[in-house]
């Protein structure tokens, strides 16, 4: 079975799993997400261990966090998860155009999330909550920033994939890529749900 053996005419129902290469890619990506889970798990542990180490005179989490902004960010990101599901569904029914539209919407929502995060961080820095202020601030920016970097990577990645679909169409080679990017996008959404709970909600409560 070779990577490029096009099935003439119609794609199979799950084109991402039609080739051994595709199945490897999906499995390998799940494994990679296992590693990512441990990565964020460790970041969360470090944050939990250090979140009360604010230091004298620095703003505490209660003073800093604006739940309305982060609630909006959460809403945007969760919606983008939904739109990415629509994209994968479109792929399974071989509707390339609708798939591309949903992917573009996903990317735009991701960009919106990033914009909110940049504004949020800028406000914090203004209020005296810099990366090197305290152990709390270092672990906060590292955890949330790592997630932000993941979103940024996802946005770039999906954009490149959209361009590829335009050029090459949906094939057994491109389909696994889209599918895997979809899993990735869900993963960073799930991580955000934890960040919203552990960092922001718990930070607001104390």
């Amino acid at each position: 079975m070779s990577a490029h053996s096009h099935v003439d005419g119609k794609l199979p129902h799950e084109p991402e799993k039609a080739t051994l290469e595709g199945r490897n890619k999906v499995l390998g990506f799940w494994l990679f997400l296992g590693a990512e889970t441990v990565l964020f798990g460790t970041l969360f542990s470090a944050f939990l261990a250090l979140r009360h180490q604010v230091g004298d005179g620095n703003p505490s989490s209660q003073e800093l966090f604006e739940l309305s902004t982060t609630a909006w960010a959460t809403f945007i990101l969760l919606t983008s998860s939904l739109t990415s599901v629509f994209a994968i569904q479109a792929m399974h029914t071989n509707k390339v155009k609708s798939m591309i539209i949903w992917l573009v919407v996903t990317v735009l929502l991701g960009l919106g999330f990033l914009a909110l995060e940049v504004v949020e961080f800028a406000t914090y820095v203004d209020e005296g909550h810099k990366f090197s202020t305290s152990a709390f601030s270092s672990s906060f920016y590292t955890l949330v920033g790592f997630h932000g970097a993941h979103v940024l990577f996802g946005v770039l990645w999906i954009s490149i994939l959209i361009a590829q679909i335009f050029k090459k169409g949906l094939t057994v080679v491109t389909a696994p890529k889209i599918y895997v990017a979809g899993i990735y996008w869900h993963f960073i959404d799930v991580v955000w749900v934890f960040i919203f709970t552990v960092v922001y909600l718990m930070g607001k409560v104390g």
Partner: protein, 630 residues
Amino acid sequence: MAHAHKVKRYSGLMDWLTTVDHKKIGILYLIAGGFFFLVGGLEALLIRIQLWKPLNDFVAAHTYNELLTMHGTTMIFLAAMPIIFALMNAIVPLQIGARDVAFPFVNAIGFWTFFAGGVLLNVSWFAGGAPDAGWTSYAPLATNTFSGGHGVDYYVIGLQIAGIGTLVGGINFLATIINMRAPGMSFMRMPMFTWTAFITSALILFAFPALTVGLVAMMFDRLFGGNFFEPTNGGNAVLWEHIFWIFGHPEVYILILPAFGVISEVISTFSRKRLFGYSSMVFATVLIGFLGFMVWAHHMFTTGLGPVANALFSIATMLIAVPTGIKIFNWLFTMWGGSIKFTTANLFAIGFVPTFVMGGVTGVMLAAAPADFQYHDSYFVVAHFHYVIVGGLILGLFSGLYYWWPKMFGRVLHEGLGKLCFWTFFIGFHLTFFVQHFLGLMGMPRRVWTYLDGQGFNNLNMISTVGAFLMGVGTIVFLLNVVITSFKPRNATNDPWEDGRTLEWSIPSPAPEYNFAQTPLVRGYDAFWKEKMEGKKEMLPAEPLGSIHMPSPSILPLIMAVGLFISGLGFMYGKGDYGDGFKAFLFNNHIVAIIGLAITLACMFLRSVIDDHGFHIEPDEITGDKGVKA
């Protein structure tokens, strides 16, 4: 329909730089790992020279700390792990009847990033001083306040880059073993070495990200003014210990499990007997891997975690002795009733068993927390972990290398020199490390640059140094053997030991590029042995002879690693005093670091947009190969 694509197939140096063939990558891992093993060994000899007499000043105190740090770091990350990966790459796909690994391209990335990280780490020697805070790099000693130079930066960034290589390697082998097994090769028919490679890869997957986070945090502390481990700003030094050992303890099992696998294969082959208690061996391997994550705090009994934690981690640690004991007795009873041939590979394997038991029992002793208050950070611990890592892993690796050398290179290593290598190394090893148990009990702490006269340490340290040199001789004999053998004709048969049991012995030595002309049909455990016992000379094919699709070579993995290397250097020197020239502009604005990352990302981009069609090897080329019948 398969149609031929034009793919450039390189030869010579370019072939090695662009290869995605798991067998060649295995050899690259072996060469690089072997090189770092020699570097680490040299560091060990310098350490032993410094300690051969009291109040010696052969090296300065500061240099000594650099040596001990680099010896540990090099041996674990740059020598032991890569040589394990060398064997896994060379053998695992052959043992499961696969043509390649799941991700050949990623496999090459794994090697080149490890190599870039290893080189970066060692560049530190020439760039103003190597890391000197121990391989555990405990904060606050490793923070800017107490290690001002760039030494620890090299540790943090070098390991980070090498760690990426290891992690993707682990993912690759998991996917390979899950997805690429030949028809009939069920999980419970997999050879023991493949099983241990599988569990080791799983441990890598779940342990290395913790190290990644620890290193990122320490890097942020050192380079960007973070406060994770900076006690004056609320940071927590014990947090580093936790993160490091949550990674560090599974790492120990990542190292030792493949050695268990090698020993299982070698003892079974040279006893002409099926591995005793195969299912309990598999069970024990899985259990060790699982328990390996539950015991990290036994490295921290003296940190002051309190009696409840100490008691729990004591008991959890002791439990690991049970599956390990199962393995030891299974090996002994594999030999029982067998017909044991003492090849060099088997000498190393048989030497491994009692040696590893000695390292294992001191492990149980260390697990008793109150007694560990006495052993901890003394030479007793040094003796313990060298018994398990050298006496366990390195003997296992030597065994594996002698055993699979013909399969990797087509030549059998010289047996006489091999036996000389075994005896010098084995005797040297016990001389070096057995006496260190007593040094520790007598009160000699580890990582000491020197010791006072009149404390009773002199003779034992002298013996230990003599032993270390004997191990050095053993290593030189091995190198000599490799050189001499490489001038011999390449004449190893498919099954040079004649007692081969697993699939790799059913194909030519060295294996052709496509491994199996026809994917074999596996009809039971010890698949090849089963066919041999039924009088056949080769495996039943599971498919007709046809054209074989191969992945194309690529230079991108190497360039990606170079990008990371440049970026690492850029980050490290992002805060220097360069006056106000061009250099200051480049480094202090992190432009070098960004260029490096851009190179890596550009490679990822290219990989994503350019489809890899690969190429095909046609049946006439396959039947033309020597030793393969259509």
